[in-house]
């Protein structure tokens, strides 16, 4: 244990506050910038206090967009991002829960082979397989669609692996008790495994949602129709969109709005973590 005197406490607090400031200050700047007029950001010195244009700026990005630069109103992009992130998250959870269930509880030929094949795909993130995946999605006519945005990202070795490890810690007697109690495989899955996995599901939900929400390269590649722009790539379109100067105050407003949903998801799911952790037990 470190001695708990006032001097060491002062130093540790200084370091911690410095760390927090380093992370928070740019975010604070973005929030401030989004409340000023167009010229303020470009003038070189940015005030550290909120301006008066906040409401108008947000109204403009949310409902009008910048038609000249070809970016749709923000609410469309927010919705697109949300649909994509949710589809990826729920898809990943469903696929990985079921495949982990199969790998742990069923004896079928090449079981371990399939497990290792799934495991190997960990080495192939989207960025590595992006060209062939684009080809496949294009050939299937899924460019500019929600299916194209989300389906290629659904398969998840990470989640499958984590659920497999978790299922293996559940005592075998649980399965046997369920069998004696007349529960078939799917009933066991639904009544016993799912409720026991709820904390893991919640944790993975947060991770997967943020993963889906922050997808940048993939939506950038396969969407050309502004109808399907997601917000993270939308920011990029806004910056490089037209020959005109980027409207930094609007970009900043977009940034703030783009960061909001993941924060909300974390705050909301955190409750479920705590609840799950205190109420269930293996």
């Amino acid at each position: 244990m470190v001695e708990n005197n006032s001097w060491s406490r002062f130093v540790t607090h200084c370091i911690l506050i410095l760390g927090v400031a380093l992370v928070v200050f740019p975010v604070y700047l973005a929030v401030i910038a989004s409340t000023h007029e167009a010229g303020t950001f470009l003038s070189g010195t940015l005030p550290l206090l909120p301006g008066s244009q906040g409401l108008e700026n947000y109204k403009q990005v949310l409902f009008e967009g910048r038609s000249r630069a070809g970016t749709p109103p923000l609410h469309t992009m927010l919705w697109n991002s949300f649909v994509m992130a949710m589809t990826i998250t729920i898809g990943k959870l469903l696929v990985s829960l079921l495949s982990a269930f199969a790998i742990v509880y069923f004896r079928f030929p090449f079981r371990m082979f399939f497990f290792w094949v799934i495991f190997l795909t960990l080495m192939l993130p989207v960025e590595v397989r992006i060209v062939p995946t684009f080809q496949v999605v294009a050939d299937l006519g899924m460019l500019n669609s929600f299916a194209g945005l989300s389906i290629p990202l659904i398969a998840s070795a990470t989640a499958t692996f984590l659920f497999r490890q978790f299922f293996m810690t559940i005592p075998e007697e649980m399965l046997e008790a369920a069998r004696v109690d007349g529960a078939g495989p799917m009933k066991f899955f639904k009544d016993i495994l799912l409720p026991l996995s709820i904390t893991n599901i919640a944790a993975l939900f947060v991770i997967m949602f943020i993963y889906g929400w922050n997808q940048y390269l993939w939506p950038l590649l396969i969407t050309t129709d502004p109808e399907y722009y997601t917000i993270v790539m939308g920011i990029q379109r806004m910056v490089t969109g037209a020959d005109a100067e980027p409207l930094w105050h609007l970009v900043m407003a977009t940034v703030v709005l783009a960061a909001l949903p993941p924060i909300l998801v974390i705050l909301f799911m955190q409750r479920l973590f705590v609840k799950g952790l205190t109420e269930t037990e293996k």
Binding site: P171, A177, A178, I192, L196
Partner: protein
């Protein structure tokens, strides 16, 4: 309620490992059978085969009139209590008890009636809304029993249900299980490695060794007339002394030994039957060296060594007042010995 008929049952695991072989057993309706044996003797495997949790490699299994070899556990009309209870941690006690009934399509009202009745019988009514982790070991044990009883199964299977409890609770639960079974008269199979549990609970004892049945009989039969050397050593604590004939060199001993069946070459005698003074009836005598006296109240043990170096255990009531490394005479009453043959491992005085 049902009888169980087991015909030449066997279990072979992949790689030709035999866990259980040639089990023949008929269990009467309402009987309490205890399977006992050292760890790895196949007793749990046998129970799990009856439950349907392990597939049956050979032989036939009948519960009632039905051959159940290929039925799922839920279709065999059995209930099982697991060693670690295997309660569903996310369900309340009430739901734990009702889950099997729910899966069988019982109505909500009927589930409630049955669960309430069982909870009352096992005195767990105050805990019905709790989750298993909020219960003590003994209470969990009761819930596990209740989950099995609530379905009113034909056969009740228990796999070392008391081994996770402390000694005091174990004795109490043992008594309750026995009383419960007497009242409900459900055919029961109970697996344990604890011979005290086995002796006290069983209507009939099945002693298993290396996947085979060594002896079947009432606890006192098995104790009083062990049929094999294995049973002789396994049942009874401290275990039976086994003395080969070579120990009895003195001529008066030789004359007495001729009364025993001809093939006998090893004698078994319980520690409490050995005497320190010469009795009236015929008795063999061995001059032994005292090794250790272990006072333990009612059951003190005296350890001695025969001339040829064999260890013997005596149970004595009072302190025999002997010093270590002195020699004393131990008498073996001839009418109390169990004659065995070393090569066949069997008792020699079976008609």
């Amino acid at each position: 309620m049902a009888s169980i008929q087991i015909n030449r049952l066997g279990k072979i695991y992949t790689g030709d490992v035999r866990a259980v072989s040639e089990i023949d057993l008929t269990i009467k309706d309402g009987e309490f059978i205890v399977l006992v044996g050292p760890s790895g003797c196949g007793k749990s495997t046998l129970l799990r085969m009856i439950a349907g949790l392990e597939s049956i490699s050979e032989g036939d299994l009948f519960i009632g009139e039905r051959r159940v070899n290929d039925l799922e556990p839920s279709e065999r009309d059995i209930a099982m209590v697991f060693q670690n209870y295997a309660l569903y941690p996310h369900m309340t006690v009430y739901n734990n008890l009702g889950y099997g009934l729910k899966n069988r399509g019982f109505s909500k009202d009927e589930i409630k009636t049955r669960v309430d009745a069982i909870a009352k019988m096992l005195e767990i009514t105050p805990f019905l809304e709790r989750k298993p982790k909020a219960l003590s070991g003994g209470q969990r044990q009761r819930v596990a029993m209740g989950r099995a009883l609530v379905r009113e199964p034909k056969v009740f299977l228990l796999d070392e249900p008391l081994s996770n409890l402390d000694a005091k609770l174990r004795v109490q639960m043992r008594l309750e299980i026995k009383q419960l079974q007497k009242r409900l008269k459900t055919t029961s199979l109970y697996v344990t490695h604890d011979q005290l549990e086995a002796m006290t609970l069983a209507d009939r004892l099945v002693v298993l060794n290396q996947g085979r049945i060594e002896q079947v009989g009432s606890p006192m039969d098995v104790y009083n007339r062990p049929e094999t050397l294995f049973v002789a050593q396994f049942i009874g604590s401290p275990s039976m002394n086994l003395i080969p004939f070579t120990e009895f060199q003195q001529s008066d001993n030789q004359q007495l030994l001729s009364h025993l069946p001809a093939t006998t070459d090893i004698l078994g005698i319980r520690p409490d039957q050995l005497l320190l003074s010469k009795p009236k009836e015929d008795a063999l005598r061995l001059d032994c060296q005292v090794c250790l006296f272990e006072p333990a109240g009612a059951e003190s043990h005296l350890y001695v060594k025969t001339p040829l170096g064999q260890d013997l255990t005596l149970r004595v009531d009072i302190d025999p007042q002997v010093r270590e490394n002195t020699t004393l005479s131990v008498y073996i009453p001839l009418n109390k010995v169990h004659p065995f043959n070393q090569s066949s491992q069997r008792r020699t005085d079976i008609q």
